[in-house]
Symmetry: D2
Subunit: 457 residues, 4 copies
């Protein structure tokens, strides 16, 4: 039997966008220009969720005849799809989770963008304003739940990891799920998928029917890291900075698996925040873990953190190697402390208002060649500020590796130049070289061509 590989369809929304006012419908239907292009590529990432590629351009090329249009009707909007990947359909009917995610994209890209003028990036917004916008975007996506106890474990780690590392992330997720904990990740493959998969099976065993698999992504990366189908709550945050803030304010604890530049960015983000004096007393369980083969990896990371941020930073996390039960128990205990703290401070469980995020971590950083060159990677500043700029350095490398805009910059202007303190850069370079060697920068099969060079002054 031969099956078609393209489908045309008219799809009605479910949930949030079901009941719109005429005003809202007309605002949304103006999908011309850059927003439409953004929406189209994100939608394609969702529809193509059966695929395993992280090469957004290849996907775009394969489905270049795909289009999606918002159709305005009296009762609401519908989506008109042309030449959509057939894998998103069963006997001509769109798979429910795909349909949900598609309308999550519509909600977050078109609808929310108009509401908040997010296209302009909230450039001049105050720190408070940004925190409020992050809150409102998450609330609008129905992420907040009334819970009795903190239970949302953020799992960070690479999209391109070894098989044994992937299996380990599943085992950790399974142990978390057996303890009724939920999972939040960046919602792509690898370490973002494994914990959800493990937790889903564990939830089934524990008859937990309300398991949450929260995926937080951003327009720039969704095409390269398609949401895995286990995700049952998807939010497209406007940029990496708001996405990171969403992670640390909705998550109650963080587990870091092996990964590449993106994971390093995440580590520096959370350490930079926790190092700020205002957060000295805020409990935040943070665990680095991997299978025994990854012990060296974490030793290297641990040493790098000690070298550039000091022992104080090292005290913010614990490293547990090859023991998923110990990880889950340590996290459970850490969450208990979070519970006590929030109770004592009458803080909400669903959003960590109390955590102070310095604005250096909030304002969008555009990885242009000029901006990268301007980073201050020297020891002549507060530790959390150094962490902030190191975070930006890694962020630029991620952009140069997989984000469309970054890839285009590199193509046009050559690699990013990273300047700074000689000894610091030497350690940074060694770390990055190791990532390359371990194939953490890109999915195996394609050779990695660096998008940066380290320049010691």
């Amino acid at each position: 039997m031969l099956y078609e590989d393209r489908v045309d369809a008219l799809v009605a929304p479910k949930g949030a966008l079901e009941m719109l006012s005429q005003d809202e419908i007309s605002r949304m239907s103006d999908d011309s220009g850059s927003l439409h292009s953004l929406f189209r590529s994100c939608a394609l990432a969702i529809l193509n969720c059966g695929s395993d590629s992280d090469d957004a351009n290849a996907v775009m090329e394969e489905f270049k005849d795909f289009d999606i249009r918002i159709v305005q009707q009296e009762r609401g909007v519908k989506l008109q799809l042309k030449n959509a990947p057939a894998s998103a359909f069963v006997d001509g009917k769109m798979i429910t989770s795909v349909r949900e995610m598609l309308f999550s994209v519509l909600r977050d890209i078109i609808f929310t963008y108009h509401e908040y003028n997010l296209e302009r990036g909230l450039d001049s917004a105050s720190s408070d304003k940004i925190t409020n916008v992050v809150f409102e975007l998450l609330r609008n996506a129905n992420v907040f739940r009334r819970i009795q106890s903190p239970d949302m474990v953020v799992c960070w780690g690479g999209h391109s990891i070894a098989r044994n590392e992937y299996d380990y992330t599943k085992r950790v997720g399974h142990q978390l799920g057996l303890r009724d904990l939920n999972i939040c990740t960046g919602c792509g493959p690898g370490a973002m998928k494994g914990p959800m998969k493990g937790a889903a099976i564990a939830h089934a065993k524990q008859r937990v029917h309300t398991g949450v698999y929260l995926g937080l992504t951003e327009p720039g990366i969704i095409a390269a890291e398609s949401p895995n189908p286990i995700v049952n709550k998807l939010v497209i945050m406007p940029d990496i900075e708001k996405r990171l803030e969403a992670f640390v304010r909705t998550g109650h604890g963080i587990i870091v698996f092996p990964g590449g530049a993106g994971t390093a960015e995440e580590i520096l983000y959370i350490l930079g925040i926790l190092l700020h004096p205002k957060n000295a007393n805020v409990p935040f369980p943070l665990i680095f873990t991997g299978p025994k083969e990854s012990a060296d990896y974490f030793e290297q990371i641990h040493a790098f953190i000690g070298d550039v941020l000091g022992a104080e930073a090292q005290a913010k996390y614990q490293i547990i190697i090859d023991d998923e039960v110990a990880v889950a128990r340590a996290m459970k205990q850490g969450l208990e402390e979070v519970r006590h703290y929030r109770k004592a401070h009458q803080d909400a469980f669903y959003y960590n208002w109390k955590l102070y995020i310095p604005e250096e971590f909030q304002h969008p950083f555009e990885p242009t060649h000029e901006n990268v060159r301007g980073l201050n990677l020297n020891f002549d500043q507060d530790t959390h500020l150094l962490a902030a700029d190191l975070r930006r350095a890694f962020s630029s490398i991620v952009a140069g590796n997989v984000k469309a805009q970054g890839v285009a910059y590199i193509k046009e202007y050559g690699v990013f130049e990273i300047h700074g303190d000689r000894s610091l850069l030497a350690k940074l370079d060694a770390l990055l070289q190791a990532f390359v060697r371990q194939q953490r920068m890109k999915l195996p099969g394609s050779e990695y061509i660096p998008c940066y060079k380290v320049v010691t002054d």
Copy 2:
């Protein structure tokens, strides 16, 4: 045993206002000035829902030491009550429905007012804009439901009606409820309470657990017409015009029981709209009904409509006397036509976007002496425009009777003068005299002192 009649309490929200951003909390906490006074009096109306008085001033006087304040907390807002009526509490705990309604008031008065600048009344808003705001207020109050069939029956009629009339409204409500229909009223006593009570018992008999008893009120009248405790969905619309629009766009059919000036206003409102050529084909079941003792009343109304708006207007409704089963069956059949029409036009069931409301019926009419004098009550205009100004005339009388602002105007400047065509005014005067005689203007016990005079030029 002696029980206290005042209670102090700190109350947490339930539902809509549970998860607020810090921005929203701080916006809401600024409850100084006129909004706070408005909120306080509406809150008192809710808390005093055990009472039967329609004399808002007397209630205000009795509980003049009552106060309510918004308390800003990390996790959200709470309400701090001082000297609240004890009838709203059981063993020191606020009755759940009262708590729900209290937060409906907070949501609609403080929260929504800030969002929409409703304090300024949307004065210059376009017709479309108003319709959208009405939609968004109702959606925000969670009024819209996904339904299989139109089922919301609006019941209009007086708050001050005879016992036999009240019993009849219960019997009609009971028959509607037995047929799984829901009830929407202005949420005060009399004809606004009876149908809900009858329907609630019928729903229990039919094991319908999702019965909706929707109360639509406005700040100006809530104090005089406290929501009856059966109301399980309460919305405070900003003014009578938006409230009337909410009735006709969320309701699928209307039943009119005997009443006074307010009921006459409602009749003229719906007839004025249905008479507009653009609505010629829109099905809208409209039934006038009462017990056999009310037959004369409806004959008089019917004659008045014939005299001033003509036979075309008379064709828009049917009159059924003393037969609750026939009323329920006719309504059920009318709703079936509505269903077919909406299906055929792909219109939503939950909001009647298709109904055209001329802007003469939408813009707020402030019943000042000057505005009342300026009404055009002559036959030299389109019928629907005459209906619009007649509606305003009755609206002014309601204001002069029970709304705080109107009562104050009358106190200061004397009665309203209504000008217009001699024969028209004669009929109008006769109708109003009858309302007075039948004690429909005010609850029995207090003598009615007219707030208007008819002036034939």
Copy 3:
């Protein structure tokens, strides 16, 4: 419009009897003989639930052409009704609660009777066996719930009470309902309906959607005391003894309102049990209450109890006059003690296994002339045994008043003769005379003709 007063219908079951094996269906379909006659009259009581009469014979006469048959189908049973009262239908469709109750009758009369051979009355069963059967009948009727706290308040009292007494039962029910308590009664009119009505409204106010209105009845009395439509859980126990056991084992506390012989029977039943030494430490809240006009009534009852059972019996209850809030608070506090006791003894909340019921209160007592004559109403025995025979004396009077079998006996053989101690009988006679004077024996309108005489030896 003229409406029909008879309806023919074929009705499918809902709930318990939906999925039957072919064996069960064929067992049930043999509905010939006495069971069919019993089923028919109980079914008629349900269908006629709109009526207010307590004259079962009159109802039977009015609907003598009514019939109901079990129809065996492949998928299950259906009920074929001929000439059923139209009040049980809306536009030809049976009201859901009526349908539910109809199948409760089918379940308890035909289905359960066959399972347990209840037709023969479990005559020789042991005390334990009876308690187990009562449990299994209630479980089969889905009466048991998983609850956090004892909350089932049994309300006893007359079916024929004064208007002010009825209004008071509603007020008490309302206060119980406001405190999230549920109601269990004998499910007829008067004091069996008022508390449910009050509680239902209070539950609506408290947004309690799971309120239970449990009606426990018996085939002999259901026709005279049709279940009121608020009852949402109906069980037909095989006889008065098992019905009384069901009351005290599922109820967590009892409130006694004014009533006649039936209420006196109930009072003697619970006192007889509580007086047994084995129950000395079992907490069981028992409150006698009525409006202030009923103060005399309870004084007389109280004196009678003191005279025949002594001060120990008087210590088992409290009397609260005209204070519904005090009643509700006292009950709530009593239930709290029950909660502690059950917790401490690891006893279930849903069935009071711990309560010891002497078998004198369990075995069916058939009120024949011989049996009545044989009652021992002398002081030469244990108090709880005297209570047992007094209970039987009152039970006989109820039977002679309203139960079909008893009424037939009286018609054939004349009044019952009650023998016993002279002083005791004098007090008993005075009490019964008062019941007659106060019209507690029969609904007002019909003159009461005594079915007994007191014979002092």
Copy 4:
């Protein structure tokens, strides 16, 4: 970190056995003798569900110090476990699904056995009686659902299959799940687990939260084929004959994957029934399928069926090779025919009363050497009777392979002797040899020693 491998625990029931009468509790607590031994071994199979072994004896040996006892308490029964496998617990708390299954075992082994005297095997029961018992056991296990459309797909196939076959069963299950279909299997590993796993993931994608994974097993085999953890409804039928009847009466269609003797038994069972003239018109979708590597396997089965049962039997199924989408579509279409047929005949969806099962397929067949020798495997009889005895032959081989009783027989008396028609036996032998070669008799790793020999007379 070292973790314990044994746990002691006291476990309370959830669901069915929560509310028991004292009678029932005392009946159940008598767990001495053979029932206790049966219960213990089944419980161990459940608790050990993490394991992959099909060697029941090895498991028994490993956990020989395990014991389980029923503890009678006032409120109900509890289970006291000693030295239970730690894999059934998380931080000392039993995994919910394990707990559910454990009480399913208690319900079906102890409770139901006592109710139905199942220990004696219903030996003399009539065909109707057996069908009713099967119904009542399934109903008691809460298997029946009110459904709109037939949706239960039985998947048969080997517990010991090749990796590519297993993956294919997952793909088929996935396609079934994407079409909202549910899965019923024998609940062990291999082809009994794969379809459930695939369907579970598909249900998650389709947001189907009510997916049913029904496992039907029997005491004799549960230890060798531990229920996989996806099973969310488990029933232990008393013997293979009732288990097979449960499959064909609750399932709406059957898919057969590659397997060994057990699968052959199942094929002969369903074909024998469908070949009976009374079932000529009963639609019953039956599909044989496997990956392309299994094409030969099904060719051989197909030829064997043609040879012994004829072309009529071959017409009862279709074979689809290596096309999971085609399988799912064909099943969906077949179920549509079932729906029409049941509708037309007013038959229930939840139990196939209409299917005629000849009593030769119902009465328990005990695989003793004498009984096996007595089988009639000749062509001198009705086809469905030949199928019945062939079914028994395969059943004996399954028993000799993995069931405790059968294994013991073989150990004591040597292999079973199968007699019959020479040509028939030759084909049978060839088929069995192929099963051995393909390692379908036993999980790989252990060498298969035949428990039978074919004896041509």
